[in-house]
């Protein structure tokens, strides 16, 4: 294995006795993620650090692990024996590489030593001094300068029980918790901008999501479905295994249009969707639903509307975007790579079945009255049984 990476993780280090579960999940997710590049990496942990050894190119690994939740920093590192001379040599190699890549003169640096191996011959201060002096002596005059505060390069030496590691780069990771450590939830995924972002945020907190999409042919096109598949594929970057559920909603939608008051159809429709998504989620052992609603963004997202749609739910509905402005959601969508896909034109059923004057302050009695003649139980069961599952 040519390349070594030291993986820093923050929050999961403080989860008490459950810590090993989080670490093991993170290791598993890292392995899965790198497997997609066709590699079989060696991933192992020692106290507070995960190490990845692989033949993959550094740039490819940094990019791929940049999508794994739970990682705080990724450092391409060099191994050294627990021997001062060896540590010096490896450090010099790293510094020489850095000097070659920079035009800055002098390159200001500092050394940081983390010594968890207390039996090492030098203490932290001593090693800092020795290393610093060695580097200055063995590089051309004027190429390096020391500055402990305003440095260009921080060279870190980690002295551990079996091995020493030296690194200078620390690429920021996504943070959050490893996907899968916070149970499962169903994501109500449409082709819009919001729901993929909501799903991503839930994943960030370790939730494994199952996206559920409602397909309403011929009112929504196959292209709209393709678009949702593309979005789910994008979300799959962040979760080792993702199963998109496509539910054919036409029969239920038709029944709603026939039996319910025109101004209320969006709300009734959302309630039926929640009912279906909830059952699918429960069948898969999920504990919550995730949706992309944000207060008052559209008629079905006023507090009154949320209240009537919420009442059909038994599972909690998580709404990570509830206080986000559209602009903030768009920025996030750009960041996670879903914005361009979401804005490709294709009808989704929310835009096809918009009433001319949608109710923005519905009351539960209105909804109950409107649903009185709606008998969709069988249609719902059928829709769930026939849901298409697309593995991404």
């Amino acid at each position: 294995m040519d390349n070594l990476f030291l993986i820093r993780y923050g929050e999961i280090g403080i989860k008490g006795n459950n810590r090993y579960k989080f670490e093991d999940k993170l290791i598993e997710n890292i392995e899965e993620s790198l497997k997609e590049l066709g590699a079989k990496p060696i991933v192992y942990k020692t106290f507070g650090r995960i190490f990845v050894e692989t033949d993959l190119a550094t740039e490819d690994v940094l990019k791929k692990l940049g999508d794994v939740f739970g990682i705080v920093g990724i450092c391409p590192a060099q191994k050294a024996a627990l021997d001062v001379e060896n540590i010096k040599e490896e450090a010099l190699k790293l510094v020489e590489e850095e000097l070659e890549a920079t035009a800055k003169e002098p390159l200001l640096f500092r050394i940081t030593t983390n010594r968890s191996n207390k039996s090492f011959t030098l203490d932290t201060m001593e090693l800092n001094r020795e290393l610093g002096a060695y580097l200055l002596e063995n590089t051309p005059d004027g190429a390096l300068g020391v500055d402990l505060e305003d440095f260009d390069l921080e060279l870190t030496a980690e002295i551990r029980d079996q091995q020493a590691y030296i690194y200078s780069q620390d690429k920021q990771g996504l943070g959050g918790l490893p996907v899968g450590t916070s149970d499962k939830a169903g994501l109500m995924l449409s082709g819009g901008i919001d729901s993929p972002v909501a799903g991503w945020l839930a994943m960030k907190r370790g939730v494994e999501i199952t996206p559920i999409y409602f397909h309403t042919p011929p009112f929504t096109s196959e292209r709209a479905k393709e678009k949702v598949i593309d979005l789910a594929e994008q979300l799959a970057r962040y979760q080792p295994e993702l199963k998109l559920h496509v539910v054919n909603f036409t029969a239920v939608q038709t029944a709603i249009n026939e039996h319910c008051h025109a101004d209320l159809i969006t709300l009734v429709m959302r309630r039926q969707m929640i009912k279906i998504a909830q059952r699918i989620t429960k069948n898969r052992g999920g504990k919550a639903l995730v949706s992309g609603e944000s207060i008052a963004q559209v008629a079905s997202q006023t507090l009154d509307s949320l209240q009537v749609t919420n009442q059909i739910a038994e599972l909690p509905i998580l709404r990570p975007l509830i206080a986000f402005d559209k602009e903030e959601i768009i920025n996030k969508a750009r960041e996670i790579g879903t914005y361009k896909l979401s804005t490709k034109p294709a009808q989704d059923c929310c835009t096809v079945f918009v009433p001319d004057t949608p109710e923005t302050h519905p009351e539960m009695e209105q909804i109950t009255a409107s649903e009185e003649n709606l008998e969709v139980e069988e249609l719902i069961t059928e829709a769930i049984e026939n849901a298409e599952i697309i593995e991404l």
């Binding site: 009112f219 038709t254 034109p345």
Partner: protein
């Protein structure tokens, strides 16, 4: 049920003979026509033969034909090539409001530096010759008018138009002939056209190949630079497979009888829809005044898009708006230009026929259309 394809104005299914010609050029005569060796010559001969064939079809000379990557490129070349070469003679250019985007958007892109005029059309989609006469002046260097409209099938009076443009020197008449080739009598030189564009995939040929006719002595400048292919006007290694397929498609172009048969199918389709489906209206020209292959019909209350998907469930393929623009959200510029009522603009369907369609197919389409519309009107 076998598929019924009534979206032939968007593109057509390649004839098997065309596919064979393409394959042959890909796998046997695959050399570069510019190569000196024998194999290069064999490829060059394919291109030469095709050029001759298309020239014969259009009743023009072979050296007035330039192959391109399709209709869009041919239109771009015609317009940009003209304004580049005639800019010293004036700065007015004229087109219509119902051109295909490959013409209209080129004109729009020139608005900053050119005096651009857009001709109105009447409710049948025809331009007003008086307005054209009014816009024409000594400063005008280019007029672009399509022969057959892709959405409505409207045929423009090209011989009358060219009589007006011929009054002026240093003025080219450019005609987008993409929907005209093989559907109406279309002979650019006789019609007084200086430059025209055609495309292979609308006539059961391959996609990615088209051609420009530019009358002898037309001063056009290229828009791409490269080696000297196509007299330097359109450099780039010739698309020999595409060109071979194009030539084969020309061989198989609709006969007079087949065109008459298309008119009869169109008559059946339109007349029966109008009498048997409530709230339906024919947009654009009367059946026989328009091209034989296009009929544009509105269905009150039903979004075209939904009807398209609905018919597709039964393997019937039609389109709404122009194919290239039907996935855009904005309204359709052609339907707007002929003044269709606002609430019908997104409720129109374009049926476009080919010689391969049959009466039985039309019968099925009408039956299914009635079924779907009844069902949809109940839900929406």
């Amino acid at each position: 049920m076998a598929e019924i394809y009534l979206d032939n104005a968007a593109t057509t299914k390649a004839f098997p003979e065309v596919a064979t010609a393409v394959q042959e050029a890909l796998t046997t005569n695959y050399a570069n026509p510019s190569s000196l060796h024998q194999k290069g010559l064999a490829a060059e001969k394919i291109v030469k033969k095709a050029r001759k064939k298309l020239a014969q079809q259009l009743k023009v000379k072979a050296d007035e034909i330039y192959f391109t990557s399709g209709g869009t490129e041919a239109n771009n070349l015609a317009i940009k090539g003209t304004v580049k070469s005639l800019s010293n003679y004036g700065n007015r250019i004229i087109t219509t409001k119902i051109e295909h985007p490959s013409v209209l958007n080129v004109y729009k892109s020139l608005e900053a530096d050119w005096d651009v005029k857009y001709l109105d059309v009447n409710q049948n989609g025809k331009i007003d010759l008086e307005q054209l006469q009014e816009y024409l002046n000594n400063d005008t260097i280019l007029v672009s008018i399509m022969a057959v409209n892709n959405e409505l099938g409207t045929i423009q009076p090209l011989n009358k138009i060219s009589k007006l443009t011929k009054e002026y020197q240093n003025l080219y008449l450019h005609v987008d002939g993409i929907q005209a080739l093989g559907k109406i009598d279309f002979f650019p030189e006789r019609l007084g056209i200086d430059i025209c564009s055609v495309s292979a995939h609308k006539i059961h040929g391959p996609k990615g190949v088209g051609a420009l006719y530019a009358a002898e002595d037309t001063r056009l400048k290229n828009i791409f630079c490269g080696s000297g292919q196509e007299e330097g006007l359109r450099p780039g290694t010739e698309n020999v497979p595409g060109i071979a397929g194009f030539a084969k498609a020309i061989d198989l172009l609709a006969s007079k009888e087949e065109i008459e048969q298309m008119y009869q199918l169109k008559e059946t389709l339109v007349n029966r829809i109008l009498t048997e489906i409530e709230g339906s209206t024919l947009n654009g020209p009367a059946i026989r005044d328009g091209a034989p292959h296009i009929a544009n019909i509105s269905f009150a209350g039903i979004r075209g898009e939904i009807l398209v998907h609905s018919l597709a469930e039964d393997d019937i393929y039609v389109s709404t708006g122009a194919a290239c623009s039907s996935r855009r959200k904005d309204s359709n510029h052609i339907l707007e230009a002929i003044g269709i009522a606002d609430d019908l603009i997104d409720k129109t369907i374009r049926f476009s026929l080919s010689t391969t369609n049959t009466e039985a197919e039309i019968e099925t389409v009408i039956t299914k259309l009635k079924e779907k519309i009844t069902m949809l009107r109940k839900i929406i």
